[in-house]
């Protein structure tokens, strides 16, 4: 597969390491959330057959974590963003 890195352009997916569903961005706060919430966060997956937002790490590249929108049936990639930007847009900071 080819991933169009937002900074570096097309790169072979072989350079990346896959993590999984981009919802992993929304980590609950451990001081307020309990096992219930963390269980839902860490273990439950929508696992769609179709468009899927997922986290990839450019390990053999610039070490950026990316959020990639990819179709799990056709493997077509329609969007690639820096995970840091997505995380901020979802309200994550420090």
């Amino acid at each position: 597969m080819i991933i169009h890195h937002p900074i570096l352009g097309p790169r072979d997916a072989q350079e990346f390491v896959y993590l999984g569903d981009a919802n992993l961005i929304d980590r609950p706060d451990g001081m307020t959330a309990g096992v219930e919430v963390f269980h839902e966060y860490l273990y439950q997956r929508t696992n769609p057959a179709g468009e899927h937002q997922e986290l990839w790490y450019h390990e053999q590249g610039d070490r950026s974590w990316l959020v990639i929108t990819r179709n799990t049936v056709t493997h077509e990639i329609t969007k690639v963003e820096l995970a840091r930007d997505v995380a901020r847009s979802r309200g994550r900071s420090k």
């Binding site: 080819i2 961005i25 790490y57 390990e59 950026s64 974590w65 995380a87 994550r92």
Partner: protein, 978 residues
């Protein structure tokens, strides 16, 4: 032997003669020959035996779709089973042998299967061999396994090299027939970066096998002219002997270039083959079409082949396959063969045309509405029986028969993304369907455009479309004959067998049986009869197979459906797919700064991931490894030992939020750590299981140096990047690995400080550099780092210098500290000392254990949020009777322990219900004078002092042990604070 069947013409170099042998018999051929064309030129038609019935077989094709003429090429470590004689390029000294026969090709004892064929109907083996139960594995299966298989594999290492590479282009053109040449010419002249790949050693495709003209040239000459122009273009890369075998995501294709297969041996160690990964903007599949047979009784005899192949052998290779030839066709293309052969003086006895009406061929006996119903000739075709339109049957004595059932577009690559081909009644064949690989266009015969004109036109137009051009070259004049075909899949006649898949011996009868047993879906048909599962992957058999099923079930061909082709297009050698990553080069080596010193000392090395670490350093007279390891341990605890710990991961963590960041990623707290101090840190996964551990030092208010285990250096770094980019994107934290920037050595033992004092420029007295101190120092003016940490339980330091000075630092320590008799210890002694101290490592950090299991539960701070803190509190992970780390020693000091042994109470049976846990690591402790071990024991913290058993059923060991504290040596830790 003379080339009795060689005639004039063709694209072979008669000025040179090549010698080769087949089954030990010497023959001659010419450059330009394939093994098959050369054997046919020598009058040899019998080249192989079929898989199940061991029927005598000759080639039915002149290409890579060949199911029959498979040979063992070359010998020794280069023996190459199942090689298609039809594509094996002839070279001087070639040796080939027939396969899957005993004792010889002409007299094959296994031919008995053919006589018993009625017992070997499709799937018979699913219905028998079940009684008595034990006989399957003891009797039936061994016989079947011995009989199965085609060619045999050498046991020697393949002596040849393989290589890989990456290519980039705007346009990849797959196939260099008229379509591909025209496409390449169009894009090439427009200045695009083009790769033109063809599996053949001569470009031109079908034009090399035909007699008709393109423009005012012979087709083959026109092709040669285009190839010449393309070769002169810098933006063109022409790749002959290169088969594009797979279409992958986003325009990536794999191709195999056969660099040296046309040579006796590769020149000067050059690769035999190269696997190319081609990154294409767009691609055009111009793979042409493959002729398919018609099923009729005994249609598999040597001498019966595709009409197009008969023509190709004559036109391209100057070979007449037979003296008296007939052609059996259901379409106009078959007639071409008759005319071409007649033109070069071959005796064309008859053309059996299954169609009614139409023009009769001049000067040839052209029987219309006729069918071949049977043939004779055991090792080679002798005659055919023909049923004429009027029902009368007639026998013709022929030694070759050309069969044409129509042409199947080569849609294979297009279906590699699981796109299903669709049936086109106009040409009675499947053409590419929708949802093929994005960016892949199909043109020419591969798209069902069968005439030369259509090939040239669609090739050009595809290139124009692929490269967004406005126009292309003018098209030369070329034949534009329409496809005239009346489908005929099999000849309904008699009780004999009519072959569909010749290699796997799948006949019309088998399809009938599959239908009778309701294996009617094409997938069931394929799997039950093995149709299309042979080395040709059904290139000549799939379509007629499913067409026959359609006839039997009364469904249309589209209703019946079709299977899809999977990569690779043609089989690929494992060596090619592996490339250079073989033997010692399977993975790169990582060498420590002390590697060269250790090698001088004759040290024993051990693989730790890709690292080679010193396992122990034998001294003269030491015959058994334990002697060396015990000595290293004792010497260290007595005076001082040095160990290369460079392999531990080192991560430089800087930024104003570095401390707060570490509080999140470690279970314990680091923001409160004083500058110039280090602390042991425990890192959890989000699921609360221990991920990694190590000591981390604070070098300045905003700079920490983290150490990780050797095994997790990479994954921990990845995890930290994840935390700082994804979880807390606004923290001011920067990371970089410095694992290899520093050569780091541990100096441990009562004299560690005394030795280092002779090396470093600063005061490192206990007062100046206390336990768990850390700081930047200098060694003879050279920048260095010192950490007062201990894995061995001794007074110990880790000293680091820039890697290039590591070797010198080690030698300096040994020289300047000579008075303390320092020794260098390896990973074994390291293991002994850490286990004596009860420090967890590999065996305990198994990805299944919690801090609580390790006796480190208190380290998980609940006062702050950290990765894994919440889920580590789940009930199943905090149970009272859960596993706890314990120390173990045998009651009898002579008794041996084995890591991996399990705990049992005294008297308890060795069954899972009584399983108390297991030993994670075991060593011999020279101090305690016996084996000792660490282990995870259920409720182990309550069992200290008790006696239990540890059993190793694999070795029949059952040993009484005492459960002790994991801190087996200097539990109060006085030594390391000394």
């Amino acid at each position: 032997m003379t080339q009795s069947n060689r005639i004039t013409g063709g694209q072979i170099d008669r000025t040179k003669t090549l010698r080769f042998t087949f089954d030990g018999i010497p023959y001659q051929g010419h450059p330009g020959d394939t093994l098959a064309s050369a054997l046919l030129a020598n009058g040899v038609k019998l080249m192989g035996r079929s898989f199940k019935y061991h029927r005598p077989r000759g080639p039915i094709s002149a290409g890579s779709e060949e199911p029959n003429a498979l040979v063992e090429l070359r010998s020794g470590g280069r023996q190459e089973p199942n090689t298609r004689a039809t594509v094996a390029e002839l070279f001087d000294g070639l040796t080939a042998n027939s396969q899957n026969r005993w004792p010889s090709l002409r007299f094959d004892a296994m031919g008995i299967n053919d006589k018993l064929s009625t017992f070997f109907a499709a799937g018979f083996y699913y219905k028998t061999f079940m009684w008595p139960k034990s006989f399957w594995e003891k009797l039936y299966e061994p016989i079947i396994r011995r009989a199965a298989g085609l060619g045999s594999v050498t046991r020697e290492e393949d002596p040849d090299n393989y290589d890989k590479g990456f290519l980039h282009c705007d346009l990849l053109v797959i196939g260099a027939g008229p379509t591909g040449l025209m496409a390449a010419l169009t894009a090439g002249r427009a200045g695009k970066r083009v790769i033109l790949a063809d599996e053949d050693f001569r470009m031109g495709g079908r034009l090399n096998a035909e007699t008709y003209a393109v423009g005012d040239l012979q087709g083959a000459d026109w092709a040669a002219g285009v190839v010449a122009e393309l070769s002169s273009m810098p933006n063109l890369r022409l790749m002959t002997r290169t088969t594009v075998v797979g279409a992958f995501d986003h325009g990536i294709y794999s191709a195999v270039e056969r660099v040296s297969d046309h040579l006796a041996t590769p020149t000067d160690g050059k690769p035999r083959q190269i696997l190319w990964r081609i990154y294409s903007g767009k691609a055009i599949l111009a793979g042409g079409a493959t002729e398919r047979p018609v099923a009729f009784e005994n249609n598999d005899r040597p001498g019966i082949m595709m009409a197009g192949a008969l023509r190709a052998y004559a036109n391209r290779w100057g070979v007449k396959v037979g003296e008296r030839v007939a052609v059996f066709t259901n379409n106009d293309d078959g007639l071409r063969t008759a005319l071409d052969l007649q033109a070069i003086g071959v005796d064309v006895v008859a053309v059996i045309d299954s169609r009614e009406g139409g023009d009769l061929l001049p000067g040839i006996r052209h029987l219309q509405g006729a069918e071949v119903i049977d043939t004779a000739g055991n090792l080679g075709l002798k005659s055919i029986s023909v049923r004429q339109a009027n029902g009368r049957s007639e026998t013709f004595a022929v030694d070759a028969l050309g069969v044409s059932g129509g042409w199947n577009p080569n849609v294979n690559i297009h279906s590699h993304h699981r796109s299903r081909p669709v049936y086109d009644p106009a040409i009675a064949a499947f053409i590419p369907g929708k949802d093929g690989p994005p960016g892949l266009l199909v043109a020419g015969a591969a798209a069902g455009q069968m005439s030369t004109h259509a090939a040239l036109k669609t090739g050009r137009d595809a290139a124009i479309a692929a490269c967004d051009l406005t126009n292309g070259p003018d098209l030369p004049q070329a034949e534009d004959a329409p496809v005239r075909i009346t489908p005929l899949w099999h000849v309904a006649h008699g009780k004999g067998r009519a072959w569909i898949d010749q290699q796997n011996d799948v006949t019309v009868k088998d399809i009938k049986l599959a239908k009778q047993e309701n294996f009617t879906s094409v997938e069931h048909l394929k799997r039950y009869t093995t149709l299309g599962m042979a080395t040709d992957q059904g290139k000549t058999s799939n379509v007629i197979g499913l067409a026959v099923m359609a006839e039997l079930t009364g469904r249309s061909i589209p209703e019946t459906g079709t299977t899809i082709y999977r990569p690779p297009y043609t089989p690929v050698a494992m060596g090619t797919l592996a490339g250079r990553s073989r033997g010692r080069e399977f993975k790169p080596f990582r060498l420590t700064p002390s590697h060269h010193w250790a090698k001088e000392q004759g040290a024993i090395f051990v693989e730790v991931g890709n690292w080679l670490r010193t396992q122990w350093v034998p001294k003269a007279g030491e015959t058994e490894w334990r002697q060396s390891v015990d000595r290293e341990v004792l010497a260290t605890r007595k005076s001082v030992g040095i160990c290369d710990v460079t392999t531990l991961g080192k991560i430089d963590i800087q930024g104003t939020d570095a401390g707060a960041f570490l509080d999140r990623v470690y279970a314990n707290t680091f923001s409160t750590l004083a500058v110039g101090k280090c602390r042991y840190g425990l890192m959890l996964r989000e699921d609360g299981i221990v991920f990694d551990d190590g000591t981390t030092a604070r070098m300045s208010p905003s700079e920490y140096v983290m150490t990780t285990t050797t095994a997790n250096a990479v994954t921990v770094f990845r995890h930290l990047e994840y935390c700082r980019q994804v979880l807390w994107p606004d923290m001011d934290v920067q990371l970089i690995s410095t694992t290899e920037a520093w050569a780091q050595f541990s100096a441990a033992g009562p004299n560690a400080r005394n030795l280092l004092a002779k090396i470093v420029d600063q005061d490192i007295s206990d007062a100046a550099f206390p336990y768990m101190g850390a700081g930047n120092i200098t060694v003879g003016g050279l920048r260095a780092r010192l950490f007062r940490i201990s894995f061995s339980g001794e007074l110990a330091y880790e000293i680091a210098v820039p890697t290039r000075y590591g070797d010198a630092l080690l030698r300096e320590m040994l020289a300047k500290g000579a008075e303390f008799d320092p020794i260098v210890y390896g990973t074994e002694a390291l293991g002994v000392m850490r286990i004596e101290k009860g420090h967890v490592a590999g065996g305990e950090l198994n990805g299944q254990s919690t801090a609580l299991n390790m006796g480190l539960g208190k380290m998980v701070s609940k006062k702050k949020d950290s990765i894994g803190m919440v889920l580590s509190q789940r009930e199943g992970m905090t149970a009272e009777n859960g596993y706890r780390l314990v120390g173990v020693k045998p009651v009898d000091p002579q008794a041996k322990l084995t890591a991996g042994s399990h705990f049992l109470e005294k008297g308890a049976a060795a069954v899972a219900a009584n399983d108390g846990g297991w030993l994670t690591s075991k060593v011999y402790s020279p101090h305690l004078g016996c084996d000792i071990a660490l282990g995870y024991l259920k409720a182990g913290d309550t069992k200290i002092g008790q006696r239990m058993r540890i059993v190793n059923l694999l070795a029949g060991l059952d040993t009484e042990v005492e459960i002790i504290s994991p801190h087996m040596f200097d539990p109060e830790g006085e030594r390391l604070r000394g």
